[in-house]
């Protein structure tokens, strides 16, 4: 008995020592690089988004450093996993600011994590700069909180405009019970109603639902001119489109970006043809965007969520530009002022800047239309860009 327990304790002790030793080694650089923090949801529900964002940022940093760095100084990222939760965001934030001493944090990918850490950042005077968080509440989060991602409110407003311009007067909505999808549905419905439209049906579903027929029957029973889908998981988005068509509905379908993702289109098949999505998208005519996507594909051998990828990528270049100006990675106030003043042309658009709430201005949502199955390719993602969403 006692031999076994000794073995086990020895193994445990060894493990502990290994961990301690391993951590102890990775410190001290001769030439001080600019250090900025990154918080993304690398695990949990936002894993896809977080991973793409981290990889995209690392690619941007590698490019900047390969080109000689910022005024000769290298750029270094300290990456932390904030998951999609406020608690993890708080510990990740404290680790970054307290242990690593960073004053500028790029992230996060999840709005919940962002809202958890933002009050701390605001109190400490630390800049948080996200490329992915879309919750409308973030606009009010504070003076040090910025984002290049478009608030769900803008997606909703633009969707409302598109619906109205397309002659839709009676709308039925189905949405996933998550903050993102719920935000899109709410703002879409509000704006559509303010234009004079009528919401004739409203259904919500949990993320693990697989059969929507009852709910869809109910919606179709109200004779809507169109159905709007706000989904956060591609599986449900694709399934809803498929089941809508199976039920014999042949009217127009509008959606957020998720139901026209690669997986969703695979599930929906030909049923998805003609579905319109209102979402920020990379401009196919933007050579810089295409180059970034190609580089990403070279480096990681896959491409997903191109707009978010581009947004995270741009964040690093904007940060580099501001660091060049301030010359100090501890100067959060200077960095913040730089963000307020900057006008940037990058992957996700030209001449965009930040308003007094730290919200991005100058970017707009695009209207996408899903192509017939025969025309879908890996390059076009299965859809074509119809153009920018109409305003007003």
């Amino acid at each position: 008995m006692s031999i076994f327990s000794w073995k086990r304790t020895a193994a445990l002790g060894l493990l502990a020592m290994l961990v301690v030793a391993a951590v102890g080694c990775g410190e001290a650089e001769p030439e001080a690089p600019f250090r900025i923090g990154v918080m993304e949801s690398v695990t949990g529900p936002g894993e896809t988004y977080g991973t793409v964002a981290v990889q995209s940022k690392e690619m941007a940093v590698a490019e900047i450093n390969a080109a000689g760095g910022i005024n000769g100084r290298m750029l270094e990222l300290v990456v932390e996993d904030s998951k999609c939760s406020a608690q993890d965001a708080i510990t990740a934030y404290t680790k970054l600011t307290d242990v690593d001493g960073v004053k500028i944090i790029l992230g996060t990918s999840c709005s919940g994590a962002m809202l958890g850490a933002a009050p701390l950042a605001e109190a400490d005077g630390v800049v948080m700069f996200s490329g992915l968080a879309t919750n409308p509440d973030i606009a009010e989060a504070g003076d040090y909180i910025f984002r290049t991602s478009l608030s769900d409110a803008t997606v909703g407003v633009d969707t409302g405009n598109v619906l109205w311009a397309d002659g839709i007067r009676k709308l039925a909505t189905i949405s996933e019970s998550t903050d993102y999808a719920e935000g899109v549905r709410r703002t879409t419905a509000e704006h559509f109603q303010s234009l004079g439209g009528e919401i004739v049906g409203e259904e919500r579903y949990a993320s693990d639902t697989t059969d929507f027929r009852t709910q869809l029957e109910k919606l179709l029973g109200a004779n809507p001119d169109a159905v709007h889908i706000a989904a956060q998981s591609e599986f449900t988005g694709g399934t809803i489109i498929k089941q809508l068509r199976e039920l014999g509905y042949d009217g127009p379908i509008y959606a957020d970006v998720v139901p026209i993702g690669t997986t969703a289109l695979e599930i929906a098949g030909d049923a998805a043809t003609g579905v319109k999505a209102i979402t920020p998208d990379l401009d196919p005519a933007n050579a810089k965007a295409q180059e970034v996507l190609a580089n990403f594909k070279d480096r990681y051998d896959y491409v997903t969520l191109p707009w978010f990828l581009g947004s995270a990528y741009d964040n690093v270049y904007i940060a580099a530009e501001c660091l060049k100006k301030t010359g100090d990675d501890q100067d959060a106030d200077g960095f913040r002022d730089c963000l307020y003043e900057i006008t940037w042309s990058g992957t996700i658009g030209d001449n965009y800047s930040f308003d007094e709430k730290g919200e991005v201005v100058g970017l707009s949502n695009a209207v996408l239309e899903v192509l017939p199955t025969a025309e879908r390719t890996e390059e076009n993602g299965g859809y074509k860009v119809l153009g920018a969403a109409p305003t007003g």
């Binding site: 086990r8 690398v42 996993d81 608690q87 708080i90 510990t91 404290t94 307290d98 019970s177 949990a206």
Partner: protein, 351 residues
């Protein structure tokens, strides 16, 4: 009645075991588990600096309150509940709604009732609210035991989560509630992380004291007897249903307290913090530390938090795999522990 003599004999044997086991279990592993976890935690905190240590300790204290309270039900009374997170969530939402102020702009976009109560008024109400729900749930649950108990408590966790997610008029659904008020004592707001840690530690101490009081009292001995053989203790004339309900409600109130502290600490909550998985993690912490030992729950919570946060500092992992590695290590550790030491680090009993 044959049953009663048999049962009493069994109970006497078990009780004798009770007295003998601690000496037997006080072996090397227990000592080493204590030593390793405590020294690793201390070293880790010292070396990472005060700010991070405070933040991590605060979450440790909240999880410790949860673990200790769950241990009263699972470890001492033998009711394997995986629904504890539901009470945690009730406490958190009660605190969030009661203390939120109508002046917070974002609460107007998707309006929920706001009360603007101070922290110390909202706290007892949150605790009592969790207790009231526990009374109702507990009366129903008293009909079940063993495997079925796991299933119904599972059901409770799922129902609680869905209520948090779908009762949008009260919880803002998936949006969550943010800008939750900080505690205020006589006009002085507990804003600093250190003050908050002290506050949480005080509550942890209270919870530990109450729990210690319970388990060393005659009430606690009845609970242990219920775990060992409910029928036998009934033969002696004890209304086990009352005892089970009482400890269930006390435990739920403690979980509600932890939830209220959590909401105020993170200042943002959404239903994702109260999913079933968190409940399973909580049961793992209790089992990891050891059933029917308060110290074990503290140790388990510390080991869990330190392991999670400690993995942030492993340098040779590629950045995008740090998170996954944390989960894998945690999983492996639990499996290894259950294989070689099913009674937990400092525990005396097996499930």
């Amino acid at each position: 009645m044959a049953l009663s003599t048999q049962a009493i004999g069994k109970l006497v044997r078990r009780t004798r075991d009770l007295r003998q086991r601690p000496r037997f279990a006080r072996g090397n592993i227990e000592l080493w588990a204590n030593l390793i976890i405590l020294s690793w935690s201390a070293a880790f905190m010292l070396w990472q600096g005060v700010g991070f240590a405070i933040q991590v300790s605060t979450f440790f204290a909240i999880w410790a309150i949860l673990a200790v309270s769950l241990n009263l039900v699972v470890g001492y009374t033998g009711l394997l509940s995986v629904g504890h997170i539901g009470f945690f969530g009730i406490g958190a939402y009660a605190m969030a709604i009661l203390s939120s102020d109508a002046s917070y702009e974002q609460l107007r976009t998707e309006a929920i009732p706001t009360f603007g109560w101070p922290f110390f008024a909202a706290l007892p109400v949150s605790v009592v609210l969790a207790g009231l729900v526990a009374v109702v749930v507990g009366i129903a649950f008293n009909r079940f035991r063993d495997d079925i108990y796991v299933l119904v408590s599972f059901g409770f966790a799922v129902i609680a989560f869905n209520i948090f997610l779908n009762w949008r008029a009260l919880t803002r659904g998936a949006f969550g509630i943010h800008e939750i008020a900080r505690p205020e004592i006589g006009g002085w707001t507990v804003n600093g992380t250190f003050e908050y840690l002290i506050l949480v530690l005080v509550f942890l101490a209270i919870v530990v004291l109450i729990s210690w009081f319970i388990v060393t009292s005659s009430f606690g001995r009845v609970l242990t007897a219920i775990r060992e053989d409910e029928q036998a203790i009934e033969v002696f004339g004890y209304q086990t249903a009352h005892y089970k309900l009482a400890i269930w409600v006390i435990s739920a109130m403690m979980a509600g307290l932890a939830g209220a502290l959590f909401a105020s600490k993170t200042s943002f909550i959404d239903p994702n913090s109260f999913v079933l998985l968190e409940s399973i993690l909580l049961v793992s912490i209790v089992i990891l530390g050891g059933l029917a030992t308060i110290w074990g729950s503290l140790l388990g919570a510390m080991a869990f938090v330190m392991l999670e946060e400690g993995m942030r500092f492993v340098p040779f992992l590629p950045a995008e795999h740090i998170g996954q590695a944390r989960q894998v290590v945690l999983g492996i550790l639990l499996v290894v522990l259950m294989l070689f030491r099913p009674q937990g680090l400092v525990g005396k009993f097996r499930l």
